[in-house]
């Protein structure tokens, strides 16, 4: 039995989840986090380091880690992988020139052993911009359909307007909950 059962039961009791939010710089990770938490998004500056937010949603306690996406910070991403239940990958849908970079970084992440059990939510952010690619175009460009190792879902959203943020997080919670809280 048992260690796993015990762990699951402990988690169940706390109903706690750890979400890791990553993506290239300027994707809108911090804006998503703050908007979701109902904070002012007009004063956000580029993340030098990381932000953590703990918030309650649907009876779950979410620990959301938002780590800066600058090139010089990406090598530190792996310090945050441990015991991640859900990975939120944020894409700037209007940044066509770096989509290939974006795909490469994500596919490297998915090979990480410590993220092997995590559910993947891809936010195709900045849908409010007129030149933004649709979520289906992003899905194709990022070759998401080739992902067989993780549960995943892509959702078009706008951190500025808040559109679809809730829907994405709800999907993520449902998927994680179905996985880790079904021990009994």
């Amino acid at each position: 039995m048992g260690l796993l059962t015990i762990l699951k039961k402990m988690k169940h009791k706390e109903r706690e989840m750890r979400l890791l939010m990553l993506g290239l710089d300027n994707a809108g990770k911090t804006t998503i986090l703050k908007k979701f938490n109902g904070e002012d998004v007009s004063t956000i500056s580029p993340t030098l380091g990381f932000n953590i937010k703990t918030l309650e949603h649907r009876g779950f306690k979410l620990n959301i880690w938002d780590v800066g996406g600058q090139k010089s910070l990406r090598s530190y991403w792996r310090n945050y992988f441990e015991s991640t239940d859900g990975l939120v990958w944020v894409v700037d849908s209007a940044d066509r020139l770096r989509l290939e970079d974006c795909r490469r970084e994500l596919s490297a992440l998915l090979l990480e052993e410590r993220l092997a059990g995590a559910t993947l939510l891809v936010f195709a952010n900045k849908q409010d911009l007129p030149g933004a690619l649709s979520k289906d175009a992003i899905r194709e460009a990022m070759a998401l359909d080739d992902i067989k190792t993780h549960h995943w879902c892509i959702i078009g959203c706008s951190a500025v307007t808040g559109e679809n943020l809730l829907m994405g997080v709800d999907w993520l919670l449902d998927d994680i909950a179905a996985r880790i809280f079904t021990a009994d």
Partner: protein, 348 residues
């Protein structure tokens, strides 16, 4: 007398102790029983790895035997069997996925390898037994014609240089998307030695992209939603208030002037930025970037400030984070404040 008393005490104690011991022993046995029950009720059979491997292997054997017989079946029955196999493999994959958390690395790899073999055998059988459907053939044809068009419509040499990455099939696909930038993306690309102006109607609240410009003067008279500047050399780029972020990559020898909420500067050398920024500017992999307060103006800039939502009274142009310089006590060598004597005051 004293001695007799002692004897009495001892005697009564001897009678009482076994009673207490018996009771305690009984309690102990009951407690052990309870613990055992609890333990049994908590053990989940599904979580034992031998349960998994037994179930997995049994199911795998069934699928293998189905696969091996379907070669001998006639054309009508084969599709049905293959369908069944597909379903079974899916179920097995699900069973595996559900069990992933408590399997050891070795078991994981083994099971994954088995699943992979089953899937590829199934694919082989399907190719062998089922006639190709027409639509599959057509879609493949469409793909090839697509990739043929790629080199024509894109400037792949520049991209492969800038990305520094390997050129694979997928990046070729992406270049097709790049090729369409002109159609959907608002901006200017591939221009040399010209003066270019974009009006408010063209850029208002849009995401504007300026790429591959050399020795140009660019005026953006309006309020874009975001601005991307990439691969520019010896240019002067002036822009109205940008609602959110400006992203600069690979610029050299340029002069920029713009108000924005955030400025992100990458791989930029020897560039002057006349900046109004309401949150913060950053530099990464830059050198010789110098900042001054924004002082350009054009008719209607007040209205554009309103539209952009930027606070005219908050300018943090001196607060620059260098992602390659984390020492707080010494100033980054990569950026500086432009001395007042060197600042421009007129722009026309």
């Amino acid at each position: 007398m004293a001695c007799q008393l002692d004897g009495e005490v001892e005697l009564s104690a001897a009678v009482k102790i076994p009673d207490r011991l018996l009771k305690r022993d009984q309690e102990r046995v009951e407690a052990a029983e309870r613990r055992k029950e609890v333990q049994e009720s908590q053990t989940v059979t599904e979580e034992k790895s031998d349960y998994f491997s037994r179930g997995f292997n049994a199911e795998k054997a069934v699928i293998e035997s189905l696969l091996s017989i379907c070669s001998n079946l006639d054309r009508d029955k084969a599709p049905r069997v293959l369908e069944e196999v597909t379903l079974k493999i899916q179920q097995l994959q699900k069973f595996f996925n559900d069990s992933v958390v408590f399997l050891t690395q070795y078991e994981l790899r083994q099971a994954q390898a088995s699943l992979h073999t089953l899937q590829s055998t199934l694919d082989e059988k399907r190719d062998e037994l089922l006639p190709k459907k027409k639509f599959a053939f057509r879609s493949r044809k469409a793909e090839t014609s697509n990739s043929k068009a790629t080199p024509v419509s894109t400037d792949s040499s520049q991209h492969s240089k800038s990305d520094g990455g390997t050129q694979d099939a997928r990046s070729a696909e992406l270049h097709v998307a790049d090729g369409n930038i002109g159609a959907e993306q608002c901006g200017i690309t591939n221009v040399d030695s010209q003066t270019l102006t974009m009006s408010a109607e063209e850029i208002q609240q849009r995401d504007v992209l300026l790429t591959h410009l050399t020795n140009c003067k660019v005026r953006l008279l309006g309020s874009p939603s975001t601005l991307h500047i990439k691969h520019v050399r010896d240019c002067e780029i002036l822009c109205g208030p940008v609602s959110s972020s400006i992203f600069v990559d690979h610029a050299s020898g340029c002069t920029f002037a713009f108000p924005c909420q955030q400025l992100r500067t990458h791989n930029t050398t020897d560039t002057r930025v006349y900046l109004h920024v309401t949150s913060r500017a950053i530099v990464e992999d830059c050198s010789g970037v110098r900042f001054a307060p924004f002082n350009w103006s054009y008719p209607g800039i007040e209205a554009d400030f309103e539209l952009s939502g930027l606070d005219k009274d908050r300018n943090n142009w001196t607060l620059v984070d260098d992602f390659n310089w984390l020492a707080a006590d010494t100033h980054s060598p990569n950026w500086a404040i432009l001395p007042e004597s060197e600042r421009r005051s007129s722009w026309d």
